[in-house]
Symmetry: C2
Subunit: 344 residues, 2 copies
Amino acid sequence: MGTTLKDIARECGVDVATVSRALNEVYGVRRETRQKVLAAAARLNYRPNRLAKGLATGRSHTLAMVISDIRNPFFAELARGAEDAAYQAGYELVLCNSDLSPSKQVRYIHTLLEKRVEGILMNTVAGLSPAEQEELSGSGVPIVLLNRPPASIRGFSTVLADNYEGGHLAGNYLVECGHRVIGHLTGPREHGNLAERAKGFQKAVEGARATALIVRGHHSGEGAYEMMKKLLSQRKDVTAIFAANDAMAFGAMRAVFDAGLRVPEDLSMVGFDNVELAGIVRPPLTTVHQPKYEMGRAAVEILLRRATRPDHSTPEHRLLEVKLVVRESSRILKGRRNQQGLSS
Amino acid sequence: MGTTLKDIARECGVDVATVSRALNEVYGVRRETRQKVLAAAARLNYRPNRLAKGLATGRSHTLAMVISDIRNPFFAELARGAEDAAYQAGYELVLCNSDLSPSKQVRYIHTLLEKRVEGILMNTVAGLSPAEQEELSGSGVPIVLLNRPPASIRGFSTVLADNYEGGHLAGNYLVECGHRVIGHLTGPREHGNLAERAKGFQKAVEGARATALIVRGHHSGEGAYEMMKKLLSQRKDVTAIFAANDAMAFGAMRAVFDAGLRVPEDLSMVGFDNVELAGIVRPPLTTVHQPKYEMGRAAVEILLRRATRPDHSTPEHRLLEVKLVVRESSRILKGRRNQQGLSS
DNA sequence: TACCCATCGTCAACCGCTTGCAATATATAC
DNA sequence: GTATATATTGCAAGCGGTTGACGATGGGTA
């Protein structure tokens, strides 16, 4: 179907090796030979076969991203950052939706390794067995995780937002708004990032001698909806909620509305992530901003750096800054209508 | 690094050809030989090199998706459908964000062709020059578009929602709600899908002897915001708006709120797409549902069908059904309409 | 026992490109 | 002019598989 090096070589009366060198701008080909080859390549509409090139060089110029679901705006934003960075470096990015299913993750990883991808961005390896984790980290392919891996396994790089700091920011903010009993809706203890957020939050709240009520459940909108309903029925003294992510905050808000209460008049709400939607819902959500796009970029940069450097030394770890974005879902307690503190 | 067929062959004392056949379950290998090979492969932790396999077979088992931006929830949903279908068929999907930039699109396409992807899903080829379109359609790689291509170019398959019907549904619904002057915010005429929506809408409205006001601008939330602001200042008699997509509906709603009006009390709003957000905003948006996930799946199914069948006959075209999802942003207009908000 | 045929396995070419090494052509030095 | 250094180019061996052609083996049948 396509024209190959051989065709060009025949056309120009030189060897395929020369053509290869000319096309790859390698030093050691006479100018005019090179011109001749380039002209012939253009004339024949030559398209190098990257599979062949990859086989010969051992490089696929491909990266992969194994996340739970691209429909989650967090991952979409991250993916965009990652893909932009890959594009700039001349790499492609393959997209894999795992739903966090261990079997899907394993199958993806195997296929990707067989395709000789040069790096993999995964949100977590928590679902894999220790043996599988070991195998992955020993595969020789750079891996970047978005979640702190078990301490037992070495070899994974990480890109994380400063979750602890984010939780602390949120807790501190609510305390300073005058709240004394603050609920925190979060997920299972094993979820590293969420655990960090909870820790930072608790530290801030309890450091101010206020009360932190930690409620655990599923870290989704639905889960938060349930948690919130229960919490509202049990504690009438809660005046603010910190949800471990924006989706949970939305779910919790729904429960608040369903109970006939208002946000922020009756209850202040703070989320985490700052997805686009946070600025669009009503009331706009106060939340902790995670630099999602930058995290995607950073992850790919690490992968590329490690892929091109043969020195498979120690993995890299990047901690990115978070910041509090104050919108209208939260307010200072004790209606002193002091509004200027609330503007973002 | 990895163990190869040769290693297994040596280990088992057979030829690599036999190993290859045994591993690929080809007829013609004795059971016990096969077992031996399989055992050795497992023992040596053999991982086939897909680049080599691809080079030999001419198949990469890879598909690609060139869209404008994965952060657009429409594409995220579509991508998920596409990727699921690809996964089930044992294919990978590479993600390309073009921002509709022609130069990026061209670069992506070239690289993808060089990587011998077996099919490409693109939202549109409208930005490419006729020559580039010609080249693409003649590349031998199946292409599925989400937008009707220029009639001049043959060879592209398409997967479309029934845009005309959707517009008609929206127009008809608003007319039946009693609206007599209905605005339609849309994009440039060249945008095929939007044009179809406008046509269906207009047909329904004018067929009922009501007035359709077509307003053109940029088909984004921002664009719609501007259009809506202008429209509100010019026509006091509009009681309903049909936006060509949900993002535009959100932007338009913002303009309505900014003008001190209410939805749906003062103005009914209908969108198109039914992105997740449509059910979450307040008021929840009445909109025309596009089966985005199914469109992604359908596109990949077409690609795969055409990739595996050598009969490069006529392209396939799928038209998927849309349906109206009525929520709270629209309502039946009472005989005595609530106009006082418009004079403020 | 001779012959036929189905089953297994091996050989070797090939997919398209890279790259170390050798061969040749050209330039520089003496 | 020859000797030597250097820039070009060609040769051929991979990279890791697949696959058609062909030979060997062994059971079944006449």
